[in-house]
């Protein structure tokens, strides 16, 4: 394996006495689709916020795209894309305006920005609705658009926080095609999800329980290890031991 794109070393975040993320250590390779699983309150979001440079670790280290998240969060931000479960587009801006805005925020300048916008509209087949407000689009389209916008500036890594919540299985499947496409182009995909069928699509999966990393491997090896028929069973076996509730 070449130099990993994400390296977490005993990454910890405490809020008072509460240890949200407890010394997690893992690597993610370039171009990998890395599933980050865990029940609600297991510490996924906190870990992800630290990796995005939004939150400073209490102890431990993490390097993302070669930069330390604690000391160089601005450099980290330059190199990542982010999409949350809320799709995070402006509903009363048009499709084209959203692309321009978010591209511009990441510092894309006009000739490049215009070209990328055209490419994106063509690839997603959204030319006809480019002038329409995002609010009027179906959920599945919004979601694909949000993802495409998140990787418009060609980040090295894209962080996805439960990106497929509330979307039907067919659309979810289409969305995963986009993720594979991005990964094939060398973008590392770091994704949290509640859907265990999606966990099966990942190259490697980590499962957090009570702030600690309880398991990390390929879906097939995890299933073998726990003697489970599906990722669902693996997750259930691990999460059953959790002390923390919602």
């Amino acid at each position: 394996m070449a130099q990993p794109i994400i390296q977490a070393d005993k990454l910890t975040k405490r809020f008072g006495d509460f240890v949200a993320t407890d010394a997690i250590t893992f690597d993610v390779a370039r171009g990998e689709i890395f599933g980050f699983l865990g029940a609600n309150g297991a510490g996924k979001t906190t870990a992800m916020r630290m990796l995005c440079g939004l939150s400073t670790p209490s102890s431990g280290h993490a390097q993302v795209a070669g930069f330390d998240v604690a000391t160089h969060p601005e450099d980290v931000k330059q190199n990542i894309g982010y999409m949350s479960q809320k799709f995070s587009l402006y509903e009363n801006l048009t499709v084209a305006e959203n692309i321009t805005f978010f591209g511009g925020i990441y510092g894309l300048r006009n000739p490049v920005l215009r070209e990328k916008r055209e490419q994106l509209l063509t690839r997603l087949g959204l030319h006809d609705v480019a002038g329409k407000h995002v609010g009027s689009l179906p959920l599945g389209w919004k979601q694909k658009l949000a993802f495409s916008v998140a990787i418009l500036h060609d980040p090295k890594i894209v962080f996805l926080d439960e990106p497929t919540g509330g979307v039907d299985p067919f659309t979810r499947r289409q969305f995963w095609d986009l993720l594979y496409h991005a990964a094939a182009q060398g973008i590392t995909v770091f994704v949290t999800t509640h859907y265990m069928d999606e966990a099966e699509y990942c190259n490697r999966v980590s499962i957090m329980v009570d702030g600690r990393l309880a398991a990390l491997d390929t879906p097939r090896r995890l299933k073998e290890l726990y003697g489970a028929a599906s990722m669902d069973d693996v997750f259930y076996t691990l999460a059953r031991g959790a002390q923390r509730g919602e």
Partner: protein
């Protein structure tokens, strides 16, 4: 810098595409000025005035004609008995009555005391006060005019001059108040709601993960509302000048500069609220209850602060609108310069700096 421009443009799009926001932003100031300026005026026009004339001589006739000629009264001349007069007051037909005694002219001419009795329905104290003042003023006017011809009177003379607003009109009082109110409402509520909305939709998170600096998010949010509020100040001043006949007496640029300061105070309050709350409804409620109500109660434009109990007077000092109201009144109505308002300006600037520091700090803590 280009990112900031892009962001500000986006904020403008948000405002301009949302009809409700637009309506609040531009409809409200116009409506409030018109309502306060015309409908809610405490001026009295064409009030029914009953004259009970026991004198029936040249002096009373002249005075009655004069009262009738004023735009404040419509004189109803009847010879009511005191009992009938009381009954009329009870029914509410009459708001004010003027009683001339018998031999009024004669007494006046002979240097005796000539008394005019004014009776007013004080169940509405403000109106009663205003009406009796109007009647007194007209009577005194008449008396002093006659004096020029007649022999000089004896005794003490009271001469009242109502400074800055000789006609005791309502508008000079309301315009500064409405300006404070509108700016408070627009800047605090709209800023708070627009930031919290981004929290709700999750776009704020995306912005924070981007290389765009968090402080610039605040700046970009504030700039459009600052500009739009200035447009509001402009439209209020124009309405005030041309529709209400209350022009700016002092320096227009000083007034605008002070307005920018107050708008900044409001924006920092709005940002503070948005940092503390996570839903648009809560942000709106806090802005309305926490900002609008104290502004109406404690800025001094509706209820005189001097009449309040001391604890409330102390509280009123915390309301930024109070200081802005004083500033606008001084500059706009009294035509005073910066020397007269530097203290208020300093207080407002101090408040703004304080809120701004707290808000930005809080905003950053939220991220950590």
């Amino acid at each position: 810098m280009q990112q900031l421009a892009l962001f500000i443009r986006k904020e403008f799009i948000h405002v301009l595409r949302d009809r409700r926001t637009l309506l609040i932003l531009f409809g409200m100031p116009v409506m409030q000025i018109l309502i306060f300026g015309f409908a809610l005026s405490n001026e009295v026009k064409n009030a029914r005035l009953v004259v009970v004339d026991h004198g029936r001589d040249v002096a009373t006739t002249a005075l009655i004609a004069r009262l009738d000629a004023s735009r404040y009264f419509e004189v109803d001349q009847v010879a009511l008995s005191p009992k009938a007069l009381e009954a009329a007051f009870r029914r509410g037909d009459v708001k004010v009555a003027v009683v001339f005694p018998a031999r009024f002219y004669e007494r006046w001419q002979h240097g005796q005391e000539a008394t005019v009795q004014i009776i007013a329905d004080a169940s509405d104290p403000n109106t009663a006060n205003t009406l009796t003042q109007y009647v007194s003023a007209i009577v005194y006017d008449h008396a002093s005019e006659q004096r020029g011809v007649q022999a000089p009177p004896y005794g003490i003379r009271v001469e009242t001059r109502m400074l800055y607003n000789p006609q005791l009109e309502g508008a000079p009082n309301y315009v500064p108040g409405v300006m404070a109110l509108v700016l408070m409402l627009v800047c605090v509520m709209m800023t708070a709601v627009s930031i919290v909305r981004e929290k709700e939709t999750g776009t704020l998170e995306v912005l924070l993960v981007s290389p765009f600096r968090p402080v610039l998010v605040i700046v970009a949010k504030a700039v459009p509302y600052l500009l739009l509020s200035l447009v509001n100040v402009g439209s209020i001043l124009m309405l005030s000048t041309w529709a209400l006949g209350v022009p700016v007496q002092g320096n227009l640029f000083l007034l605008l500069a002070e307005s920018v300061l107050f708008i900044t105070t409001c924006l920092s309050l709005g940002i503070f609220i948005s940092v503390q709350t996570s839903s648009q409804q809560v942000a709106m409620l806090i802005s309305l209850m926490g900002m609008l109500l104290p502004t109406i109660l404690f800025s001094g434009f509706m209820f005189p602060i001097e009449n309040m109990p001391v604890p409330l007077q102390v509280i009123s000092n915390l309301v930024p609108a109070k200081w802005y109201y004083i500033i606008v009144k001084s500059i706009m109505i009294k035509g005073l310069g910066f020397a007269a308002v530097w203290k208020e300006t300093l207080i407002l600037a101090g408040m703004t700096a304080g809120w701004l520091i707290i808000s930005v700090k809080r905003f950053n803590i939220r991220l950590a």
